[in-house]
């Protein structure tokens, strides 16, 4: 119940932003498509080219289109999202307008020509008005698509109802997923029905029906834009700090934790979590976000393209240098915990077998079953560990990470690839095996600042107390509160915040 209320309190923000995004995309889609279709209706070649281009755009997966726009426009948030969604909305409007203009009864065109209308006059006075119901039908289809697709704005930092869905799926907060999906579905249904009414009004040439539909649409639009307009009126003088985050529980909690600290220091935090791993890094380098938490090994392997394994301190040092040289971003320091791949066993089992490290595991491995998440066995970390220790297991399985933990606890597998900061390690009494040969690269959590934020002493002062302050246990608890105890992300962050203040 408390969770539901907390989720609903976010509805004006997420829902309002979702409406602004969807309605802008629809408006832009209509404004671009109809003139383009009118132009295309004159020559078959242009018509073919326009429709083919729109169809090809349509086949690009939604998320890929959004990511592409983020890369092309080098911006985060509303603009790349609205551009991608607009492109997506164009096909149904284009297709219906072209078809509507073409499939007019020849009798009317013949009469118009015989009365002395020029081709343009026939187009604008006869074809276009007669095509209106078909065009509205296209807009209706596009609207439903757009409202759905707008939920994909989250990974490129456009606030929308997708924020509920992406974070809810990651933190297994079903209430959040439900609220987000239901709100998006409701919005789609309401718009669909109202535009459907407008379509009927245009078919029947009924003015009262058209006025009713238009009034309904105006009300929905007004309602949707109200939060944004109130936001614009809000005379909040506090400087804004944009906090980024990737798409898993720990990142959501850490972003909220940074927000709490920045709020205390007099800033207005703007949280953009659920971002793709590459997106968030690029956005920091470009100053689209001011701070976020990444992991040293990720920067090392994915961005610096290093495949050798160095100790934690060397990695941290080389990485900081590389960051400042390439983008001017600054690594404020390590938070004090690691989120690395680590091998875990049932605590009891490990103690009985006397296994505490990967060296100990080698003997027992041939009679043990190992499970990893979907990507683990194709990652360089697996190859590095296997080769460094000469590990041979009885069997190997790839599983969804939740099932992987459940399988371990239930005794269906014996060793899993865990994340070292996972809350389930403490909750299920698992033993994390040490890595004496340092085959696994270090994944220290590090706080990164954009070039702009690094120069702002107040931001640095507000965030510096987090450095070396969060140990493995505190982070595992933070994750456990969200993943297992089903607390909201904000509540988990509040608990960590007060634990740090003690």
């Amino acid at each position: 119940m408390e969770n539901l209320l907390e989720q609903l309190s976010l509805l004006p923000l997420y829902g309002g932003a979702h409406m602004t995004l969807s309605l802008s995309a629809i408006a832009a889609g209509i404004t671009l498509s109809i003139p383009l279709a009118l132009l295309a209706s004159r020559t078959p070649t242009v018509q073919w080219a326009v429709l083919t281009t729109a169809s090809v755009l349509q086949t690009i997966p939604g998320l890929a289109m959004l990511a592409f726009m983020f890369l092309v426009m080098a911006r985060l948030g509303f603009w790349p999202a609205v551009t991608a969604i607009t492109l997506y909305s164009m096909l149904p409007i284009l297709r219906n307008t072209v078809t509507g203009l073409r499939d007019i009864d020849d009798n009317f065109v013949e009469a118009a020509r015989g009365l002395g209308m020029t081709n343009d006059q026939i187009l604008f006075r006869v074809r276009l008005p007669l095509a209106v119901p078909v065009i509205i039908a296209g807009i209706r289809t596009a609207t439903v698509w757009v409202v759905g697709m707008a939920t994909l704005g989250t990974p490129i930092g456009a606030t929308c109802l997708g924020n509920y869905i992406f974070s809810g799926l990651q933190t297994q907060n079903h209430t959040a997923v439900f609220v987000g999906s239901a709100a998006a579905a409701l919005l789609a249904i309401v718009l669909d029905q109202l535009i459907g009414l407008l379509q009927r009004a245009s078919e029947k040439r009924s003015r009262p029906l058209a006025i009713g539909a238009a009034a309904g649409l105006a009300a929905v639009v007004l309602l949707g834009l109200t939060p944004s307009m109130l936001g614009a009126l809000d005379r909040d003088e506090r400087p804004v700090v944009v906090i980024g985050g990737k798409n898993f529980s720990e990142q959501f909690v850490l972003a909220e934790l940074m927000a709490l600290r920045l709020e205390d220091a007099g800033f207005r935090p703007d949280i953009r979590t659920g971002l793709g791993s590459t997106v968030v890094f690029e956005a920091l380098a470009k100053g689209e976000i001011d701070c976020y938490v990444d992991y040293s090994g990720t920067i090392w392997a994915n961005h610096m393209k290093r495949d050798d394994v160095e100790d934690a301190e060397t990695v941290l040092e080389l990485m900081s240098e590389w960051l400042e040289e390439t983008s001017g971003a600054v690594c404020l320091g390590a938070l004090g915990f690691e989120n690395a791949y680590a091998f875990a066993m049932r605590g009891e089992d490990a103690r009985e077998r006397g296994i505490a490290s990967l060296d100990d595991l080698v003997r027992a491995a041939p009679s043990l079953r190992v499970a990893g998440d979907y990507e683990f066995f194709s990652r360089p970390e697996w190859a590095a560990v296997r080769d460094a220790y000469g590990l041979e297991f009885q069997s190997r399985t790839s599983l969804d990470s939740t099932l992987m933990y459940e399988g371990l606890v239930a005794g269906q597998v014996d060793v899993i690839s865990a994340f070292s900061s996972d809350g389930r390690i403490a909750a299920y009494d698992l033993t994390v095996l040490s890595d004496p040969r340092q085959a696994l690269p270090p994944y220290d959590a590090i706080l990164l600042l954009s070039p702009r934020a690094a120069l702002d002493a107040r931001i640095v002062d507000a965030l510096a107390p987090l450095i070396e302050a969060i140990d493995d246990d505190l982070m595992r608890n933070g994750n456990k509160w969200v993943d297992l105890d089903r607390l909201s992300v904000r509540e988990a962050a509040r608990r960590m915040h007060s634990a740090l203040s003690e």
Binding site: F108, E110, A111, A112, R113, G114, G116, R205
Partner: protein
């Protein structure tokens, strides 16, 4: 005066000859009917007059001026045009449909308003009652009346009509034919009408041109054409018509 001089239309690089050297002159105020079966070339001939179809060869003049030298849309605005199935624009009310050509010609709104009322009354539709209706709210006969009103709105001196009574029920058709004939006579309109209905042609026309396989097989007053015997097709057609009329007359006498 409209003069067609050896007008031909061929398609597919001359392989299909739709109209073959048709010559015809229509006097001012004359009602000429082109009669023929479908595919005889009558509609093609009609459409070449207002350039909905361009002739392959030959010349057409309107008051001495070749139509090919005029801008097509201006030429069409100067002639009334009424077709089967009427072609009233379903998204426009009656008044807007009737006002199409005056509006294209840039008449003042007050003049258009007055003319729409006038021309609706002329075709027997009280303007008050019908101005604001949509075509879908009218009967077939009323729609055809609006179609005539639209063709007459800009005061053309020439009317081109393509089977305008074709889709009407027999009683409405007879009424409208008679009414249109009287309007035509009162206004002194030059009319060229296409039909396949021989009785319609005989009852309305000042002169009938019978078309057969793209050519003008006969041309003359109804009385002349009715007794034409040089062209085999025309003779057969007129025989059939006279025969039908005789049988009808006998039936009428018997029952009386």
């Amino acid at each position: 005066m409209i003069v067609l001089d050896a007008v031909s239309k061929s398609y597919d690089n001359g392989r299909i000859l739709a109209v073959d050297a048709v010559s015809l002159s229509v006097e001012r105020g004359e009602f000429v009917v082109l009669l023929g079966e479908s595919g005889s070339g009558k509609t093609t001939t009609l459409k070449m007059i207002n350039r909905l179809i361009e002739p392959t060869s030959g010349s057409i003049t309107l008051e001495g001026q070749p139509v090919l030298e005029m801008e097509a849309h201006r030429l069409r605005r100067s002639m009334g045009y009424a077709i089967q199935g009427v072609g009233l624009f379903p998204h426009m009310r009656v008044a807007a449909n009737v006002a199409v050509v005056p509006r294209l010609l840039g008449w003042k709104p007050e003049a258009i308003h007055a003319r729409v009322n006038e021309v609706l009354e002329l075709v027997g539709l009280p303007a008050e009652e019908y101005r604001d209706r949509f075509p879908a709210q009218l009967s077939g006969g009323q729609q055809q009346r609006v179609g005539f009103a639209r063709a007459l709105a800009a005061k053309p001196s020439v009317m081109l009509m393509d089977e305008p009574f074709g889709a009407l029920d027999p009683i409405t058709r007879a009424d409208l034919q008679a009414e249109f004939k009287s309007i035509q006579e009162r206004l002194g309109l030059t009319v060229i009408m296409v039909t396949h209905d021989i009785f319609e042609a005989l009852l309305l026309a000042d002169r009938i041109g019978v078309m057969w396989k793209g050519s003008l097989a006969a041309l003359g007053t109804p009385r002349e054409v009715l007794h034409e015997d040089k062209h085999e097709y025309v003779r057969a057609l007129m025989c059939a018509a006279r025969d039908q009329a005789d049988r009808l007359e006998r039936m009428a006498l018997d029952s009386g």
